[in-house]
């Protein structure tokens, strides 16, 4: 079990690095979708007795993060006619290096954090922290609205992975509620992207500052 779990987590980290390095938005969305599907496989792996609830949660996660959300984003992309992130605030190569450095730091430091000594092995905490940083990097260095949404999605994925440690402590209802919130949030954002695009003829979020009073 632990072996499969670790393998999936390594894949997830690789997807992070890919997300930091690509300029093509379609590829970015596909990567996020793949990550969502991989995450969906995790809940049944970490619980001791696999009942209906973990399976239900896996199904909901895969449907939402693997299918519905990526499809909404792809539709927003088609509407907005944007294909590439052309001017990131930090280049793609430095982004990958920063992401790799953050992952290395997370691996080195996570052993010091209290919940790291769980039966689930040593990889869960570092993966989650690395995903958080990836999300933050995308959010702070990219300017297109769709990329920002994906940054937010990766951030939330990091929190999801962290939540695996606490599956016994947090009721499933809460986890499902968080997923629903995420779905609604992104649903709203994709509508907003459409409007930003119409109003500014661009998806550049920096232009939103012209809305200030």
């Amino acid at each position: 079990m632990i072996m499969i779990l670790n393998a999936i987590l390594v894949l997830v980290i690789l997807i992070n690095l890919f997300a930091l390095g690509t300029s093509r938005m379609k590829a970015l969305i596909h990567a996020a979708a793949l990550q969502g599907v991989l995450l969906g496989l995790l809940p049944p792996l970490v619980v001791k007795d696999v009942g209906t609830l973990p399976l239900l949660m896996a199904a909901v996660t895969i449907v939402l993060k693997g299918i519905l959300i990526p499809n909404m984003l792809l539709k927003a992309l088609r509407d907005a006619q944007v294909k590439r992130e052309v001017e990131p605030l930090i280049g793609f190569m430095p982004s990958i290096l920063l992401g790799a450095a953050a992952t290395a730091m997370a691996l080195a430091l996570a052993g010091q954090l209290a919940p790291a000594h769980s039966p689930l092995g040593l990889l869960v905490i570092p993966t989650s922290i690395s995903m958080l940083f990836t999300g933050f990097l995308l959010l702070t260095t990219r300017v297109k609205a769709v990329t920002q949404v994906i940054g937010f999605l990766l951030l939330e994925n990091g929190i999801f992975v962290f939540g695996l440690l606490l599956l016994s402590a947090i009721p499933y209802l809460v986890e499902l509620g968080v997923l629903l919130d995420l779905f609604v949030g992104i649903f709203v954002i994709s509508i907003i992207i459409h409007h930003i695009n119409r109003a500014f003829a661009s998806q550049d979020t920096r232009r939103l500052s012209s809305l200030k009073g």
């Binding site: 080195a108 430091l109 010091q112 954090l113 940083f133 959010l139 702070t140 979020t205 920096r206």
Partner: protein
């Protein structure tokens, strides 16, 4: 009967009156009547309950669990809160009715519903404020009141002056809230609970209590408009719609006084210095307020400065009562406190009456510049009568209510002469203030209502019954308290005893209430007789235009203006007022048209607050770089904080070992 629940119904009715009005269309008038009906119904409920508690029913408490964890809301209605609830509900309901005609939904489709929403929140917040027994709830109610006031001031947000006034107000009120936060934090640390309970004597030193007292004086004083903390007040009250100004001036300022009274009930110490401080602050506010009022030629700004004056008078009463507690003189306490409290009611009544009449003038003539008005007594008879009555009351003349409350304070100050003769000076200040107020209202009433019509006022028309019925009720209350002060002695005695917690001499034995009634009734009869005789004597005389005085071609420009009436005083007291005067340019033998413009701006705002503000902006300009308004930046700040927190959780020695 559960009186507290009845008050609570009133509060909820006011809070709901705004949303109820939002159900209707923007341009129709139907739902504004529903909204005002709910407000008046709530006001009546609240009034009945407050009167019951004021006239002797025992105090009631209520506590229930709130949404926030480990918090309960504690409410209590006692004599003091009931006393302040009465003006809140009275003026709140009357102004709602007044708003029906003054701010008709069909004439103000954009702002009407918004105005009623925030007005309801304001009244609900003030009523809650008097009930809260818990500092957190108190602050919540305080902010409800403060924020809704901001939105009310900026009702006409298309006008730059209104926006400017609202921003100055917002800064001032938050400064006050900041001090109150410090105040309640100190109280929480001392008493170990958020409940506002009297501190046991001897637990806290006099120094710390004085700090608390000063925080309360400045924090609540900013709201009450004590000089020099009044700088936001004139512009704010002048730019709000008139029935809102009536409420802000008549009721909301008194919440500052209520706050000071409330904090004083918590503190056991009474050093004489506190009383002397409030007494001198009060005297300064009263004197400077009326002086600045004299220099104004905007009708509502003039009235707003008179609020500063009257807050000063209220504060003088309070200072006298505090001094009485320090010196163990029960007579000073009862007279000072009765004067302070009764003036809270009275000022609420006559200042609202004046603002509502001023609103009627604005409604009818379309301007509030005194120099453009004139002769309105002919076209707006009812408004003129009400304004005259309010003016007489605010000047403290018998047989009206202002006389009664000022008499209490005079009597109290006279009683101090045997022990502290220096205090009789403040009685002289009070007399001076009364005289100046009379001069100021001679100017206001004379220029606006007497004489002949000036530029705009000849188009003026009388307002409808929704405007003058509320004014009539306020005027009747002014006369009632003025002629029959015996009616209010019992509640005043009750509230003062509850506030000070001592056995005090009966107010009736100190104040000649019966004499005032006889005198008042006699005066009214004499005035009535005089008017009737004059009518009879002049019944055949020819009526010509005022100030015609035998001129061949009299012009309305030949009358006294507001500025010319006040000129003597302005030149005599130039350094205190600092009038700004544009140079008059006249050249040549046959000079062309020329203009003279004089203006007295608020000295505190112009010479103290604005320079400090500019300096602060200059000093803090470096910080503006952090506020770029881009999402990426803000997320980056969050990331930094997250990293800092992460580093904080890791033991630093571990980090050191790991890295090297």
């Amino acid at each position: 009967m559960n009186w507290l629940a009845l008050v609570f119904i009133g509060v909820i009715a006011f809070a709901l009156s705004g949303p109820a009005g939002m159900l209707g269309s923007r341009s129709g008038n139907g739902w504004q009547w529903v909204s005002a009906g709910i407000a008046v119904g709530g006001g009546v409920c609240g009034l009945v309950a407050a009167c019951a508690v004021l006239f002797g029913y025992p105090a009631e408490t209520l506590s229930f669990a709130a949404a926030a964890p480990a918090m309960t809301v504690n409410l209590r209605i006692g004599p003091l809160s009931a006393f302040f609830l009465i003006p809140i509900f009275t003026i709140g309901s009357l102004s709602s009715v007044y708003g029906l005609g003054y701010w008709q939904q069909s004439r103000h489709p954009r702002t009407g519903r918004k105005l009623r929403l925030w007005y309801g929140v304001l009244i609900a917040g003030m009523a809650m404020l008097t009930l809260c027994q818990n500092s957190i709830d108190f602050l919540v109610a305080w902010e409800m009141m403060a924020i809704s006031t901001f939105f009310l001031i900026v009702t006409e947000d298309q006008k730059p002056a209104a926006r400017q006034a609202a921003w100055v107000y917002l800064v001032a009120t938050h400064l006050g809230t900041l001090l109150l936060l410090a105040l309640f934090a100190i109280l929480r640390v001392i008493s170990g609970s958020f409940l506002l309970r009297p501190l046991p004597p001897g637990q806290v030193g006099i120094g710390l209590q004085t700090v608390i007292f000063l925080l309360a004086t400045v924090g609540f004083g900013l709201k009450a408009g004590i000089v020099p903390l009044h700088f936001w007040l004139p512009e704010a009250h002048a730019n709000a719609p008139s029935h809102v100004s009536a409420t802000l001036s008549g009721v909301a300022l008194k919440m500052g006084i209520f706050g000071i009274l409330r904090v004083l009930t918590l503190l056991p110490a009474r050093p004489p210095a506190w009383g002397i401080l409030l007494l001198s602050l009060g005297a300064a506010s009263a004197f400077l307020g009326v002086l600045w009022a004299m220099a104004q030629h905007d009708l509502k700004r003039l009235l707003a400065y008179h609020s500063v004056e009257n807050i000063g008078i209220i504060l003088m009463g309070l200072g006298l009562a505090l001094l009485g507690e320090a010196e163990h003189q029960p007579v000073w306490i009862i007279l000072g406190m009765a004067g302070c409290l009764l003036h809270v009611w009275n000022h609420g009544l006559f200042k609202s009456l004046l603002f509502l009449s001023a609103g009627s003038v604005i409604h009818g003539a379309g301007t509030r510049d005194i120099n453009c008005l004139g002769g309105l007594a002919k076209s707006m008879k009812i408004t003129a009568a009400f304004f005259l009555l309010g003016s007489l009351a605010i000047c403290g003349l018998p047989p009206l209510n202002g006389f009664v409350s000022e008499l209490f304070i005079y009597l109290g100050l006279f009683h101090t002469m045997a022990k502290l003769p220096i205090l009789s000076l403040t009685a002289a200040v009070l007399a001076m203030v009364g005289a100046l107020a009379a001069a100021c209202f001679t100017k206001a009433y004379g220029v606006v209502f007497l004489g002949t019509a000036r530029r705009v006022s000849h188009r003026a028309h009388e307002s409808g019954p929704t405007l003058w019925i509320p004014m009539g009720i306020l005027a009747a209350a002014c006369v009632l308290i003025g002629v029959a002060p015996g009616l209010v002695l019992t509640p005043l005695q009750h509230v003062t005893a509850a506030w000070s917690g001592q056995t005090l001499p009966a107010l009736g034995s100190l104040v000649p209430a019966g004499m005032i009634s006889i005198l008042g009734a006699g005066l009214i009869a004499a005035i009535g007789l005089g008017v009737a005789l004059q009518r009879y004597a002049l019944r055949r005389s020819r009526i010509d235009s005022t100030w015609a005085c035998g001129y061949i071609a009299p012009s309305s420009r030949m009358q006294y203006t507001a500025s010319s009436l006040a000129q003597m005083l302005l030149t005599a007291l130039g350094p205190l007022l600092r009038p700004r005067r544009d140079k008059l340019q006249i050249s040549g033998l046959f000079a062309g048209p020329s203009q003279l413009h004089t203006q007295v701006s608020d000295p505190v705002l112009k010479d103290a607050v604005e320079p400090v503000w500019r300096r602060l902006r200059f000093m803090l300009a470096g910080g503006q770089g952090f506020q770029k308004g881009s999402i990426q930046n803000y997320i980056f700040y969050m990331l930094l904080i997250l990293l800092a927190l992460l580093a904080f959780t890791l033991p630093l020695t571990m980090l050191w070992k790991l890295l090297f």
